[in-house]
């Protein structure tokens, strides 16, 4: 069941031009007539390490119609002579929460505040914590249905993506033409998606849903788990319950006597992740958090998890390798106090509690993280986590700390595209892919020079 579900999703043609009701902006003007372009006399970096020194890229209907050194320019296109410039595939920010609802948003349906133990999403006590303590506790008073947004395992980030024009512009100004959508907080806040950063014009932004199951280790208000240590146990038990549910479903289909699937939507929604049909995206940044995820993945036999954050990935390389994980490296650097070992320094200096400057954690270790991970053979994708304004600057620092320019480009295009399962549409400059392009003067995408042009789905910004 889980596998066929996954294949079905993957087989859906990427219908980018079709409108998506959830993200269409009803107030936006009708789509302007599409303009096609020819970018001529330009240095083309089609993929990491693959360069056409002087050539042409032609777009048509939002896609790349032709790319090469000797391309015939069709009639009716706008020609941009980009002598002295380079064009790259649009950058991909592998994880951002910009444009997503806050997970811990106020609960309109729980105004009574009665959030006693038990009761999963959908009310009716469906979650794995249902029943725990209930037998011994007093019965909950009748109350309005309780919603736990931190436990919406089947919420789709791409469906909920509703950025403002200013937010989209901020991405494009950084050369970012598509994004991975990761919730900020929660416990099982939902599923990872992917979207474009073009303006609202009725064409829709969503690229992909159900990319991965996010596990964020937050707390559950008013019940179990109430702590980080409880969250780890809760995550383990929830996956075990889903694995059990998968066994029962299979037995039910085989006609096994006594096998009957549960009516627990929370449990069902985790089956794909618990059976590794959908990757699990674990929020884990510090060395300790990564080690913990490694223990969970091992106990649950999860294949190829994504470690989201991975700021101290360089400290936990053996664990990342053992898991077969992709490191989604945050370029939003930690505050110094949260870097392993620095608490001692802060206290030892008698300056405990004094907020250091924001740039203080720009340490060699943090900058060199990506280089160390790539060197160890761990796939790396860069993520801004809301710091898109410094995305290119931080990548430049990573290059300064030993990452090759090709590996940097890979971590900002090809690898996140693969991770988000949108390789067929974006990540390289190839005929048929979306015309997501970034033009810079000179050769270096990550140089401290302004971006000249950004195209999202063929539209020039």
């Amino acid at each position: 069941m889980a596998r066929s579900f996954f294949i079905a999703i993957a087989a859906v043609p990427l219908a980018f031009a079709s409108a998506s009701a959830q993200v269409a902006n009803p107030g936006a003007p009708a789509a302007a007539p599409r303009v096609d372009y020819a970018l001529t006399n330009v240095r083309i970096v089609t993929a990491p390490g693959k360069v056409i020194e002087r050539g042409t890229v032609v777009t048509r209907d939002g896609r790349i119609a032709a790319v090469g050194a000797n391309v015939r320019i069709p009639a009716g296109v706008v020609t941009l002579d980009l002598n002295g410039h380079s064009v790259y595939a649009g950058l991909i920010d592998a994880a951002t929460s910009v444009g997503l609802p806050t997970v811990m948003r106020p609960l309109a349906t729980a105004a009574s505040g009665g959030t006693g133990g038990g009761g999963g999403p959908g009310g009716g006590g469906g979650g794995p914590q249902a029943g725990r303590g209930v037998a011994l506790g007093r019965a909950s008073a009748a109350a309005a249905p309780v919603v736990y947004p931190e436990l919406e395992a089947n919420a789709e980030a791409a469906d909920l993506f509703a950025p403002t024009d200013a937010q989209l512009k901020a991405f494009r100004s950084a050369g970012i033409t598509s994004v991975g959508l990761v919730f900020d907080g929660g416990l099982f806040p939902g599923r990872i998606g992917a979207a474009l950063t073009g303006a609202h014009d009725g064409s829709g932004l969503s690229l992909r849903t159900s990319v991965g199951q996010q596990v964020a280790f937050g707390r559950n208000r008013g019940g179990y788990p109430g702590t980080g240590i409880g969250a780890v146990s809760f995550v383990m038990q929830s996956y075990l319950d889903a694995q059990y549910e998968a066994r029962v479903e299979q037995a039910f289909k085989a006609g096994t006597p006594g096998a009957r699937p549960s009516n627990d939507p929370f449990r069902r929604s985790l089956i794909a992740a618990a059976t590794s049909a959908m990757p699990s995206w674990f929020i884990a940044s510090s060395e300790r958090e990564i080690v913990r995820v490694s223990e969970i993945a091992s106990e649950l036999s999860l294949k190829n998890p994504v470690v989201v954050g991975a700021v101290e990935g360089w400290r936990a390389i053996p664990h990342l390798k053992k898991m077969g994980a992709t490191a989604l490296v945050s370029l939003r650097y930690p505050t110094p106090e949260t870097v392993t070992g620095r608490t001692f320094l802060a206290i030892g200096s008698g300056k405990s509690g004094v907020a250091p400057p924001a740039t203080a954690a720009d340490t060699a270790e943090v900058r060199g993280n990506a280089a160390a991970l790539v060197k160890a053979g761990i796939p790396v994708a860069f993520a801004s986590f809301g710091s898109e304004g410094t995305y290119r600057e931080r990548i430049r620092q990573a290059i300064g700390a030993g990452l090759s320019a090709d590996d940097a480009l890979r971590a900002a295009t090809v690898t996140p595209a693969a991770l988000l399962d949108i390789t067929a549409a974006v990540g390289t400059i190839e005929t048929g892919k979306l015309a997501n392009l970034v033009v810079v003067s000179g050769n270096d995408l990550f140089a401290a020079t302004p971006i000249k042009h950004v195209f999202v789905e063929g539209r020039l910004y």
């Binding site: 303590g133 037998a135 011994l136 007093r138 909950s140 179990y224 240590i229 060395e287």
Partner: protein, 425 residues
């Protein structure tokens, strides 16, 4: 050692000090705990004690610390600490959470301070808000090592239980409809009985499955329940109970409930009225880890006396004295001395309360707790006898590595100051 390559925590790199090395301490008073006090040498090779005593020969080419006038004792073991944890101490949302596991934080400065007081291992316990709390962790103070290298390999798996006020009052200030069962001592007793009954049913379900699964393709593997699995582990003796307790009556209650349900209370923690029920504790086969002279901070701690350690020891209970404090963890050797002042304990028996006895309570007595050939080289060098009021720890070794050296502490502090005052970042 696998953690030796990653010994820098942040900027805390002290080349040479942290590296594994063979080392000897010569001409010191060796408080062996196992074989009395002798003046002699102790030789450390490959992280283990290779030779100890007056005739121990120091091989050439290794580092030698002159121990003349100094005292060498096994590293102190703290059987009750909540230092170096993160993600919460109490999963207090429910009263039975043995599936929860405490999370160690390897860069807590308390680890370094503990080393400065000669403490080399500790039991990091879940809190006492729950009748059946979470699983705890025995660590070695391997300051500078990655988190999973801090775990003390081969130690017991230990779970926290709690009795009395901390449990019953855990949710007493919450709104009425959010209060948590149990809220009385009667409720605590019932909770333990209730959950072990559930655990037995769960165990029976799995045993039935395992029996029927042979040749039966229709058998569906049951749901794994991590909470009940942990309780079954207790019944099987694979998970040891350390039970927070104060009053004699509650101690007797848990012993009775344990014997009725067929499990063992491994160690009573705090156990301030242990002197009233020492015979019953000993008969059950439980051990005791207590405070030296800390009492009257709440009603149920009113009847504590400083003679508790000595009185329980006399009745055959294996007693340790613990810190439960990031401050006392630096001077547990002084806490042990209180047993000599109050109760006239033998000096060696008193020192056992911070070495061999807690090692037994944590299941690590084969590896640490005495100065004997073959044991881990977890050792502290004191400037005077540990019970002398001016005694200070000069060196602390874990697995043969000098992780605290008082002569370098001031240099380290200067380095820290220099680094945190900007510039180098």
């Amino acid at each position: 050692m696998r953690y030796s390559v990653k010994l820098c925590i942040g900027l805390l790199c002290v080349p040479g000090v942290l590296a594994a090395q063979d080392i000897a301490i010569r001409n010191a008073t060796l408080i062996t705990i196992a074989n009395g006090d002798v003046v002699g040498n102790i030789v450390v090779r490959g992280g283990k004690i290779a030779a100890v005593g007056p005739n121990a020969t120091i091989p050439g080419g290794i580092r030698v610390i002159d121990g003349t006038g100094k005292f060498v004792m096994p590293g102190i073991i703290d059987a009750h600490s909540h230092a170096a944890l993160e993600g919460g101490i109490n999963e207090g949302s429910e009263s039975v959470t043995p599936e929860v596991q405490v999370q160690v934080r390897n860069d807590d400065p308390t680890i370094y301070r503990a080393l400065a007081g000669g403490t080399t291992s500790a039991l990091l316990l879940h809190g006492s808000a729950n009748t059946i709390g979470g699983q705890s962790r025995v660590i070695k103070m391997r300051w500078g090592a990655p988190v999973d290298s801090m775990y003390f390999e081969g130690a017991f798996r230990i779970v926290k239980f709690a009795l009395g006020e901390n449990v019953t009052r855990a949710s007493s200030t919450a709104p009425e409809d959010q209060r948590r069962f149990p809220m009385s001592r009667m409720g605590v007793e019932f909770t333990v009985n209730y959950w072990f009954q559930k655990a037995k049913e769960y165990d029976a379900e799995w045993k039935a499955y395992r029996a029927s699964a042979r040749g039966n393709t229709n058998a569906i593997m049951p749901r794994r329940d991590l909470r009940l699995e942990a309780l079954v582990d207790i019944l099987n003796g694979d998970l040891k109970i350390h039970a927070h307790s104060y009053r004699g009556d509650e101690i007797l209650m848990l012993i009775r409930v344990a014997e009725e349900n067929g499990f063992q209370v491994h160690t009573f923690q705090h156990v301030l009225e242990g002197y009233k029920v020492a015979d019953e504790i000993a008969r059950h086969g439980a051990m005791a880890s207590t405070f030296a002279d800390n009492w009257a901070y709440k009603a149920e701690a009113w009847d504590a006396i400083p003679y508790n350690m000595a009185l329980m020891s006399e009745r055959g209970v294996v007693v340790s004295v613990n810190s439960d404090s990031n401050e006392r963890i630096r001077r547990l050797y002084q806490e042990a001395g209180i047993g000599v002042r109050y109760g006239n304990m033998d000096v060696n028996e008193a020192l056992k309360m911070v070495t061999l006895n807690p090692a037994r309570q944590l299941g690590v007595d084969k590896m640490v707790g005495t100065l004997e050939t073959g044991k881990d080289a977890d050792i502290a060098v004191y400037s005077a006898h540990p019970f002398a009021p001016d005694a200070m720890v000069e060196y602390t070794l874990v697995d043969g590595k000098v992780l605290f050296d008082r002569s370098e502490a001031s240099t380290l502090r200067k380095q820290v100051n220099a680094q945190t005052q900007g510039g180098s970042r």
